[in-house]
């Protein structure tokens, strides 16, 4: 019992700090992403690459219609342009706007505190980890996610999604989720761990570019950039700094208002970690 209570008193000052007081988390990495909406053509290659890399189950027309599909990444397409307005009400004279949407790995994620069995928590690399074998399927986390990017295994999709010999194409680096378990984009955690192992084996620190997520790799226009925010030399840190977007606030104060970087639903104080660069159009 001594260690049970010992931990409480020893770590009290550290453990009782929320994110407002700087948090109790000593991050080793801060993986984050930035997506340039001006370069994204909405071609859906990233979403299909995610299917191939992360063993996502396709569910068929009926379950897709009942919105029980399992695409971790979806490309949303909007026709309205509230910021710049349309000059011709009868035609889409500036095309459509595309928005790749996946888990934003929020640093103050609303889905984490509500999970009854702590199946989701914030790792030391600032990822929102989803522990499949701990999840009991209470689904509160998906209700609480403002982005609706948590997908639930309503059915045991494996038999229909991978009829033999299609199951030979499954990626052995990560599990095939069973019925009753929540899943979501993990920033290709198997690639992150693989890169960690390679770096450790070669006795060096993880450097920028070691980890390439499946969507970033296949994006034909290189609109997606992934990296470690704590590594100041990384491409992603440069983008966040250049766009004057800082973590830890829910309203950015930018000197240059024309900078394109913004985070979605930032005002909910959930610290999303995907920086979107606004789409540009001639007006």
């Amino acid at each position: 019992m001594p260690s049970l209570l010992g931990n409480v008193f020893k770590g009290w000052s550290d453990y009782s700090k929320g994110i407002e007081q700087g948090g109790n988390q000593k991050y080793e990495h801060m993986f984050s992403m930035s997506i340039d909406l001006d370069k994204c053509t909405g071609c859906n290659a990233c979403s299909t690459a995610c299917y191939a890399e992360n063993n996502l189950a396709w569910v068929g027309e009926y379950k897709f219609a009942s919105r029980q599909s399992m695409h971790w990444m979806r490309i949303e397409r909007y026709f309205d342009e509230p910021d710049v307005g349309s000059s011709d009400p009868e035609s889409l004279d500036r095309g459509a706007s595309f928005l790749p949407m996946m888990c934003q790995q929020c640093n103050a994620a609303p889905c984490e505190p509500v999970c009854p069995v702590a199946a989701t928590y914030h790792t030391v690399d600032a990822l929102n980890a989803q522990v499949y074998n701990r999840c009991i399927g209470s689904r509160y986390c998906a209700n609480n996610c403002p982005f609706r990017v948590r997908y639930f295994n309503f059915y045991d999709n494996a038999p229909t999604a991978w009829p033999a010999p299609m199951d030979q194409g499954l990626n052995p680096d990560l599990s095939v989720r069973s019925k009753g378990v929540m899943e979501k984009c993990t920033f290709c955690i198997q690639r992150i761990r693989g890169a960690n192992e390679t770096a450790k084996r070669e006795g060096r620190e993880l450097k920028d570019g070691d980890i390439v997520t499946a969507c970033q790799q296949t994006c034909p226009t290189s609109a997606i950039v992934f990296g470690d925010l704590l590594d100041k030399t990384s491409e992603i840190s440069k983008i966040w700094k250049r766009q004057q977007v800082k973590l830890g606030t829910y309203k950015q104060e930018k000197e240059n208002k024309d900078l394109r970087g913004y985070r979605i639903f930032e005002e909910l104080n959930i610290e999303p970690k995907v920086l979107y660069l606004e789409r540009v159009r001639e007006v």
Partner: protein, 713 residues
């Protein structure tokens, strides 16, 4: 251990006492991948094959065959199974990137409905019986294939010359034939090298280079740089929104078939308002002069200020690039404008084909499809080999392709899957998938890299009794008595010698580096344009009068022309514009919908002179009010479990009219009548909402804001 507190992460390390940490990604081993010098000898269950270390992925280079663009790919192989395709960084066409069709190749490879054994009249047979029958009855056979290049084309040509020089029909309904013919006519070079990344403005007229036109992945890569600072302007003129249209700064919708007139209108404004000289092309100048904006408005509903805006943008941002594939006339006008605006030589440079002409690609067109049907009905074709295409599905019902095939004496299909065509054939030879067979391919991108892409098997055959396309061609060619092939007992041997001859050295090291890079680099002969002659510009009055609907068959990077309809990942990938899945739909403008009295999800029957289809309505403003666009790819009658739904708009097209010079099906706008059937079912889509409801989701800033902070990167 001196550490007082062992936390969980180091606990595993201590447990492992050294470097054997039970990492998720596989066990620890030395950095270089050879089993003999490794510190840890980890042997798998049997004597391991070369480089097969359990848990460690190895990447092999190959070529993607999901569409004619032939991008170079790396296949990730674990325990002898290919798991994922990624772009090959050394391939200059796609430089490490691939599209969603490439990503879905894995599903086609491990598909449960693959043909596993040769069939003679539907009955299972052995390879020897089938090949013997083919050798006996296929003397002087014609070839009906998709786009074909590399040594496969060489073998086909060899087989044809040995058998009396029958014709090689190359069928690709989604093609760039109008652009190629116009470039040949005006610049003397069918595939000029396009530099979208150097252009400051791009005008695309019916040339969906971000979707399915030309080399989509190459164009998308260039588009990525095109959009970096200093940011280029993308404009497009098309009746229905394509992928390029969806990403345009200026999207102009013109009545179907009137693109040539609109482009001439732009030329008119360039010559009159901006004083661009057309001195050396008097007839072009004449055509521009009389194409006044009011005339353009009458033909295409495109207003003058839209034309002016395009013209001003072209003038303000040079060098520009004008691409057109709507029809022949438009493509010619585009090339003339390119010459007027001085783009030729800057964003349009002469192509440099490889010296080995025999390997050059045969780019397909729907003209060959129509002519094959005509010749077959006329009885000119005694026997035919069909490979890599599905003519029965692609042909309009008026063409009665099934009837034409019935007239052909002996039909052999070389295919992965059963489809409408293989059921009509006498002999079906099961081809291995592109990821388990040898081959060479020459991309159609006009660059001077002089690359021949190697397609090498990434794993053994999933089904033992299938053979690669190359092996089948080799066997058939031997059967037809082509000399000089006897020494090669399989296509690998043939390729080994052919490629060594190509690069002029047969050293083991060179061959291995070719396999690692996935490409062989050969000499190219540079040429330059012989432009300068006068160009007669004409345009054809759009068949459909104002108010009558014209059917547009749109192609999307997913199901493409229907060949990927049996891949569940692509059936479930939401369509880029409508976000619909697993079923067909008809896109119409809200005003048109109001006129015919259809609301979202209503079923409508679209009837043309050649047939009718019934599908659901998708209403949005990205289409002309006289156009109705139905995407191609679905509506198969016999293509497996996953391709059952949807309708095939190709069946409604009119084979005879087509474009004046060529009979390109997709450009032959057929006028249709539309009537709601009354029943309604919600169109299954990813998104039921098109608006952001006031949330800041996909925000937009103006281009001058972007330029003010040097693009802000």
């Amino acid at each position: 251990m001196s550490k007082t507190k062992i936390d969980r992460r180091n606990f595993l390390k201590v447990l492992g006492l050294g470097s054997a940490g039970a990492a998720l990604a596989g066990c620890d081993m030395p950095s270089y991948v050879t089993s003999d010098e490794g510190k840890e000898n980890i042997y798998s269950y049997l004597a391991p094959e070369e480089y097969v270390i359990p848990g460690i992925g190895v990447w092999y280079a190959s070529t993607c065959q999901q569409c004619p663009a032939s991008c170079g790919v790396h296949g990730r192989v674990r325990e002898g199974r290919v798991l994922k395709l990624e772009g090959n960084p050394d391939a200059s066409v796609n430089k490490g990137k691939i599209c969603q069709m490439g990503q879905a190749a894995i599903q086609g490879h491990f598909h449960p409905e693959r043909i596993e054994n040769p069939l003679i009249n539907g009955q299972k047979a052995t390879w020897d019986e089938a090949l013997a029958l083919v050798a006996k009855k296929s003397g002087g056979a014609a070839w009906l294939t998709g786009a074909m290049s590399g040594h496969q084309r060489v073998l086909i040509d060899a087989h044809r010359t040995a058998g009396g020089n029958a014709r090689h029909y190359a069928v690709e309904v989604v093609n760039a034939r109008p652009w190629e013919d116009a470039s040949l006519a005006t610049l003397g070079d069918a595939n000029p090298n396009l530099h979208i990344d150097k252009a400051r403005a791009v005008l695309a007229v019916g040339a969906d280079f971000l979707g399915t036109w030309g080399n989509p992945v190459k164009s998308m890569r260039d588009y990525g740089n095109f959009r970096s600072a200093p940011r280029g302007v993308l404009m497009s003129i098309e009746p229905a929104m394509s992928m390029t249209g969806a990403n345009s700064d200026i999207w102009v919708t013109a009545r179907p078939g009137s693109e040539a007139a609109v482009l001439m209108g732009v030329g008119h404004i360039l010559t009159t308002k901006h004083g661009v000289s057309v001195a050396d092309m008097p007839s072009a100048a004449l055509a521009f002069a009389d194409m006044t904006p009011t005339k353009v408005l009458g033909l295409s509903d495109v207003k003058e200020e839209q034309l002016a805006k395009i013209a001003d943008t072209l003038m303000a941002n040079s060098p520009s690039l004008i691409l057109a594939n709507a029809n022949h006339d438009t493509a010619k006008v585009a090339q003339v404008l390119n010459m007027m605006l001085g783009n030729v030589g800057q964003t349009l440079t002469p192509s440099a084909a490889i010296t080995a002409e025999a390997l050059l690609p045969v780019t397909g067109s729907s003209k060959d499809l129509v002519e094959f049907a005509m010749d077959a009905k006329a009885g000119k074709i005694s026997s035919v080999f069909i490979s890599g295409t599905n003519p029965v599905f692609l042909a309009p019902s008026k063409l009665d392709m099934a009837g034409a095939l019935a007239k052909v004496g002996f039909k052999v299909a070389i295919a992965d899957f059963h489809d409408e065509t293989t059921t009509a054939c006498d002999v079906v030879l099961p081809a291995s998938s592109a990821l388990e067979a040898w081959g060479t391919h020459v991309p159609v991108d006009g660059s001077d890299a002089g690359e021949v892409y190697i397609q090498q098997p990434l794993m053994e055959n999933v089904h033992a009794n299938t053979r690669g396309l190359g092996d089948i061609l080799l066997a058939v060619a031997k059967g037809a008595g082509v000399d000089g092939l006897a020494e090669f007992e399989d296509y690998y041997g043939y390729l080994r010698t052919a490629v060594s001859a190509l690069i002029g050295s047969d050293l083991e090291g060179d061959w291995n580096s070719i396999l690692q890079k996935g490409k062989a680099v050969t000499a190219v002969n540079h040429s330059n344009f012989n432009a300068g002659g006068d160009v007669a510009l004409g345009f054809s009055e759009p068949a459909a009068k104002a108010g009558t609907l014209t059917l547009i068959t749109s192609a999307r990077q997913g199901l493409f022309d229907g060949r990927h309809a049996n891949l569940p990942w692509l059936q479930e990938a939401p369509d880029q514009i409508s976000k619909a899945v697993w079923d067909s739909w008809a896109e119409i403008h809200p005003k048109t919908a109001a006129k015919i009295g259809a609301k979202d999800g209503d079923y409508i029957t679209i009837t043309s002179a050649n047939g009718s289809i019934t599908t659901r309505v998708f209403i949005y403003k990205g289409i002309h009010q006289d156009a109705i666009s139905v995407p191609m790819g679905r509506g198969h009658t016999n293509y497996g479990l996953y391709a059952k739904n949807g309708v095939n708009p190709l069946s409604l097209l009119d084979a005879s009219s087509g474009d004046r010079q060529t009979t390109e099906l997709l450009n032959s706008g057929v006028s249709v009548t539309v009537k709601p059937t009354g029943d309604n079912r919600h169109l299954v889509r990813l998104m039921d909402v098109d608006s952001q409801h006031g949330r800041k989701l996909a925000a937009t800033i103006t281009a001058d804001q972007f330029d003010r902070n040097q693009g802000g990167a």
